[in-house]
Amino acid sequence: MTHAEQNENIPSGDNRLLGEDVKMREIGKLERFLGPDNYRILKGLVKTPASRIGFVLVTFFALIAIFAPLIIAPVPPNDGYKIPRDGFKNDPQPPGKIWKKNTPEIPFWYKKITGKDQWVHLMGTSEGQYDIFYGVVWGTRTAFKTGLVVTVATFVIGVVYGSISAYYGGIVDNLMMRVLDVLMILPSTLAALIFAAVLTPKIGKSVLPVMIALIAFGWMGYARIIRGDILSIKERDYIMAAKVSGVKNGRILFKHIIPNAIFPTLVLASMGIGDVVLSFAALSFLGIGTETGYADWGQLLSFARNWISSLGTYWYIVVFPGLTLVFYVLGWNLIGDAMRDVLDPRMRGKA
């Protein structure tokens, strides 16, 4: 038995009756608040080096997203999500080229870091002279916006659906699970691609059709997982006790079952953010969704599709937005990977 396990097995809380030879483990406020299982998960997350790197990456991107207007200001009359164009020439221009038209204001950090008095295209321009640096910075906002909205929405839908299904059981459960089976037949990228294409003529080109499509075909996984967890919690004695004492169904579900079952699903949702951003970028890479010139990494990358044979020269139209996307997703995945380890039931008591 390792030291950590021994620690884990020491009874906690008020143990005066057990006598003085039993050593008590200090229990902090946070642990009391979260409960032992959830606290263990949280602790495991902060401890591993991989997840720390993940947190650093995600925080870094979050700061970029928050301070985007300070890093590079929008060029009026455009709103921030529209990438300014330096002219209309077709061929991409390399990094370091002087920015002539539609130049944003010079921010405070610019001279200190680059030592130059006027804007250059720090990462070059893409086809149609869209500034890549601008797109990368403001695309961070798009990534957070889409990732968070889609994840929260799919999570809520999944949890509500899964809880209802699990709690009522029997034929309701069976029917609801068959609907899930149907929705899960098509690979989610393909299904979202189709649905977004159907929606685009109805609501116009924007981030909306893709987000709606990703929500529509993204919640099923959460529903399955929370259903499983609820099914096991439903059988526990304290639920039976609540039933016997006459607590109403809805109250049992929302006050007693869901709070105890939700944590693993919540953690999975945070792992899902990276995937959502990947799918979103993939769809806009294929040309579905945002209008041309919207600050969005997938779209920046889609410009590269017309220059494949000359990517040797125009490497910067792939490398900068591509690696940004990779590091963003990597950040979320590192956190997610640590969560997977902590959540693995075989790892219980080892964190």
Partner: protein, 354 residues
């Protein structure tokens, strides 16, 4: 096991009806004029014609009648012939590709199958090999670096990875081109001396004894294969590793070791076969997933399979074509999932004997 298989079979009609209703529902979001592509090559021109067509194809009827028509087709009042009907394999007309959707699929699908079959080989074999290595050297440097490798792999979007390998191996080094065939090879394939056997290019070229064309076709597939493999290795690695670790902890492995078997025999002879059970299921599902999920890979490499056709239809908002693909994919996936589940039932003694 019989009950398991019967229950699994009973699910099939449910899924079939479900998927058709799902796609029919999306179809309902189109205007009747757009839906005429289900039956006609050209858009109707004037209001009167539109009205006639709406009547003729029953777009004014109740939804369930429309659903039935969509499945079974409509009788042409003049010629008495059946028009449309997805159950007859008639998915409508693809205006973005100027040919019937069914024909588009039958032209493109063999290419996708070709790519998928070839991609499976390195994907599964290397994925399992890596997973076993990681498990055997648990927590050693091999395991740690494979862990990094797999996390980076899952974080790489298919298209970014694809663009990067294209940049290096095509644009810089000029080794491996995108597309399907070089133009000289395409010329041979289109000529009369070429015999088509099963339409899968690598196999047909072998049967035609044209090894140069076989190599050319394979050369065009190397980058997509590498991309698909790299993206999928992480999953195989993870599943193999954890399953292998669990197996290595079991008593019979200890017994094998106690009997004095070499570590090699213990790992490859005793542990690995049992550890591969969950990997087999995963392999089945990922083949299935590949068939439907090659949309992005095919688009990046300009590979003429159904995935890239679907992407093109989506970009030009050719919904009838897209939904045709969706139905086709749905049918394939339902059957393929069924096969995987049943095969698994035969392999896994826990299911077989229950």
């Amino acid at each position: 096991m019989t009950t398991y298989i019967i229950r699994r079979l009973l699910l099939v009609p449910v899924l079939l009806v479900g998927v058709t209703i799902l796609i029919f529902g999306m179809m309902q979001m189109l205007s009747p004029v757009e839906r005429t592509a289900l039956y006609l090559k050209d858009f109707p021109k004037n209001d009167k014609q539109i009205e006639g067509l709406i009547k003729r194809y029953g777009f004014d009827k109740p939804v369930y009648v429309q659903y039935w028509n969509w499945l079974m087709g409509v009788k042409n009042p003049v010629s008495g012939q059946r028009e449309g009907g997805i159950l007859h394999g008639d998915f409508g007309y693809s205006r973005s590709s100027s040919m019937p959707v069914g024909e588009l699929i039958s032209r493109r699908f063999p290419n996708t199958l070709d790519l998928t079959l070839w991609a499976m080989v390195p994907m599964i074999s290397v994925g399992i090999w890596l997973g076993v290595q990681a498990a055997v050297h648990q927590n050693g440097w091999i395991d740690q670096s494979l862990r990094v490798f797999s996390i980076v792999g899952t974080s790489f979007p298919t298209f970014v990875f694809g663009l990067l390998v294209l940049m290096v191996f095509y644009a810089k080094l000029q080794w491996l081109p995108p597309g399907r065939l070089s133009s000289w090879a395409q010329g041979v394939v289109d000529s009369t001396q070429w015999r088509t056997y099963i339409n899968i290019l690598t196999i047909d070229s072998l049967l035609n004894r044209r090894f140069d064309i076989f190599w050319d076709a394979l050369k065009h597939m190397i980058l997509p294969i590498v991309t698909l493999s790299y993206i999928n290795w992480a999953g195989f690695l993870r599943v193999t590793r954890s399953s292998m670790l669990e197996t290595l902890r079991q008593d019979y492995v200890t017994t094998a070791r106690a009997k004095g078997l070499s570590e090699r025999d213990v790992i490859f002879g005793h542990a690995r076969p049992n550890a591969l059970l969950p990997v087999i299921t995963m392999a089945g599902f990922s083949i299935v997933g590949l068939l439907g999920g090659v949309v992005i890979t095919e688009s990046v490499f300009n590979y003429p399979g159904i995935g890239s056709a679907a992407a093109r239809a989506a970009t030009s908002l050719d919904i009838v074509t897209m939904l045709g693909f969706a139905i086709f994919n749905g049918l394939i996936l339902i059957v393929a999932n069924l096969v995987v589940d049943i095969v698994y039932a035969f392999i896994d003694p826990r299911v077989r004997l229950s």
